[in-house]
């Protein structure tokens, strides 16, 4: 549809406004991390990057980074496995309790995370489990695995069941059908689910707050330091966290590109 010049200008202005709304807060954190002043004020008079060096050299930050990576990494791999198997049950096979399963598996997504965190903490206490980064993995999985299942299920719903039947008809065993047809076709969904799982776990605060016990993840530490003990190290670590997310998105895009390259070509 052809648009008038005024409509076109309004659309550009709207686009810029939306992008500014989304990204300006992040830009302000980035600017705060390179400002020499203790608190951010404009215009920035003196810049320095020494907080980045300090953050990377800090044992505390490295410890936090390691815990966050461990939690997000294990949640990612577990979510991919659970999401794949869950999607098979959710979308590929007919079984007796499939319909209630389809509803119940998604329910945790809609729970407020603070309530979910509190409930899990109470369970851990009742079971005599001391909260740590390991219990945070369980908590993250309760919320993230359903999302991963949903993502893989969308992919699973999208492919023709006749593909599996055709493989079987041509002589494939159940395992061969899974290996030769189902897994390769669901793989883009599994990779997407893994990417989402990492990003949701990496940046999660409410569940971690309730369930890490004496351990701490990067988002928890950022919150704690904002409440007391603020220094430019806080926005610097914040930016490093964002860099971690961006790195993961980049890795996901590279993996998707590599998967496409591995596919047959002329």
């Amino acid at each position: 549809m052809k648009t008038s010049r005024l409509a076109s200008a309004l659309l550009v202005a709207y686009g810029i406004a939306v992008l500014a709304f989304l990204y300006l807060p992040l830009v302000s954190v980035g600017l705060a991390s390179v400002s020499k002043a203790r608190y951010l004020s404009f215009p920035i008079r003196r810049y320095n990057t020494e907080w980045y060096g300090e953050a990377l050299a800090s044992d505390t930050v490295q410890g936090l980074l390691w815990i966050s990576l461990k939690v997000a990494g294990i949640v990612t791999v577990s979510s991919m496995v659970i999401g794949f198997l869950g999607a098979l049950a959710f979308a590929r096979y007919s079984w007796r309790f499939r319909k209630p399963f389809q509803k119940l598996i998604l329910l945790p997504i809609f729970f407020p995370q603070t309530v979910l965190g509190l409930a899990l903490l109470m369970w851990f206490n009742a079971l005599g489990i001391v909260p740590s980064w390991k219990t945070a993995i369980v908590a993250h999985l309760v919320w993230i695995a359903p999302i991963a299942t949903l993502i893989v299920s969308i992919r699973a719903f999208g492919f023709d069941p006749a593909l599996e039947e055709a493989a079987r008809d041509m002589g494939a065993t159940q395992w061969q059908v899974l290996r030769e047809v189902t897994i390769p076709l669901l793989m883009p969904g599994v990779v997407s689910a893994g990417l989402f799982a990492f990003l949701l776990s990496w940046g999660n605060f409410p569940l971690s707050l309730f369930t890490t016990g004496a351990d701490s993840t990067l988002p928890e530490w950022l919150f704690a330091k904002m409440i007391s003990g603020y220094s430019p190290l806080v926005p610097t670590v914040g930016m490093l966290t964002v860099a971690g997310s961006a790195g993961m998105v980049a890795a996901g895009l590279i993996l998707a590109w590599a998967l496409r390259r591995l596919r047959p070509t002329t």
Binding site: E165, A166, R168, D169, G171, A172, L185, P264
Partner: protein, 353 residues
């Protein structure tokens, strides 16, 4: 069908889903090398039958024999048959060559032999050899059909089943592929069992047609026989445009019969089946004669079709364009046909409705 023992035998095959019976104890023999089309309206049980034949579903009762081996108790992946699916079910993550080689790979055939066979099949299906490395998404609709056929033939199955593989194609491509499929059947000598709801497809390609209705075979015979001598009004209507004339005590209301026709139909009752092309306009002489007026006229390429209002009801007539009625709509006409064109079904038409 030849007298030789059949390659496929179905005995009292029944399939029920809860309270619904999709197949009512059907029997069928298929000769080796035969091209059998199974035709029927939606819900007649065609797809249920083919799914039982290939092993995607288990029958509730009855047996399926492939020569001397009972195959309904064998899992789908161990049956020496193959199916071309309605959606073709080509693997999008594999090349044309990898798709064709897939059943051979499952059987542990060496890579070199697999490739040789795939290229041989590309030749057979008249696809260029460089299609071996092509992506499925880069193939046209017709090329995909040929790849699916090549894949189905790869491991040399005893019987090839087809589940409406041409239904999603446009008319011209469908007509081309119908002929190619018939030609492929002749060149391979394989037994083809072809499910379709298109009567035209079935008539062009098959040696015999089995008409299904509500989980039963209504009639199994060569196309010409089913067309000319349908066993029921349902089959007659399913096989194309048809006129039904009620026959009571050897008389057709509103029609004049020759003495030969009166003698042939004397005392009989039922429904006379009369194809539109068997009726002649303003004939010099005929065994059955009716009068009427033209209610509508349709041009069908080289032929004209007329709807005629007559005392026996509305009739359809098809003639060559050069025999078109002068005067157009409302013109009075006399219709007639020979005794040989009349086929009597004992069943009244209403019973089949």
């Amino acid at each position: 069908m030849s007298d030789a023992s059949p390659i496929l035998r179905i005995n009292a095959l029944t399939k029920t889903f809860d309270d619904f019976t999709a197949l009512h104890g059907i029997d069928l023999d298929v000769a080796e090398g035969e091209f059998l089309a199974i035709v029927g309206p939606s819900g007649s049980g065609k797809t249920t039958l083919i799914r039982l034949l290939v092993g995607m579903d288990d029958p509730t009762d009855g047996a399926i024999w492939l020569r001397d081996q009972r195959i309904d108790v064998i899992p789908a992946n161990r049956r020496p048959t193959c199916m071309v699916f309605q959606s073709l079910a080509l693997f999008p993550h594999r090349t044309v060559g990898q798709n064709i080689e897939f059943p051979l790979k499952l059987r542990g055939v060496a890579a070199k032999a697999r490739k040789d066979r795939a290229l041989e099949l590309l030749d057979l299906l008249r696809l260029p050899r460089d299609y071996y490395a092509k992506r499925i998404q880069q193939c046209s609709g017709g090329e995909k059909q040929r790849v699916a056929l090549a894949r189905a033939l790869a491991f040399d199955p005893e019987i090839l089943f087809f589940d409406e593989p041409l239904s999603a194609l446009d008319y011209r491509l469908r007509k081309t592929l119908e002929k190619e499929l018939k030609d492929l059947h002749r060149r391979t000598g394989k037994t083809f069992i072809y499910i379709t709801h298109s009567l035209e497809e079935a008539m062009v390609m098959s040696d015999r047609i089995a008409i299904m209705r509500a989980g039963r075979f209504e009639q199994i015979a060569p196309a010409e026989e089913i067309y000319a001598r349908p066993v029921s009004p349902f089959v007659a209507e399913f096989m194309g445009e048809v006129n039904f004339l009620p026959l009571r005590a050897g008389m057709v209301a509103g029609a004049a019969l020759s003495s030969a026709a009166q003698a042939a139909l004397a005392g009989q009752g039922g429904t006379l089946v009369l194809r539109p092309e068997s009726l002649r306009l303003n004939p010099q002489a005929a065994d059955l004669t009716l009068t009427g007026t033209v209610a509508a006229a349709y041009l069908l390429g080289s032929r004209m079709q007329y709807r005629i209002d007559s005392p026996a009801g509305e009739l359809t007539v098809e003639v060559l364009r050069e025999d078109a009625v002068a005067g157009g709509i409302g013109a009075p006409v006399t219709l007639g046909c020979d005794l040989a064109a009349l086929h009597l079904i004992a069943e009244a038409r209403d019973a089949a409705a």
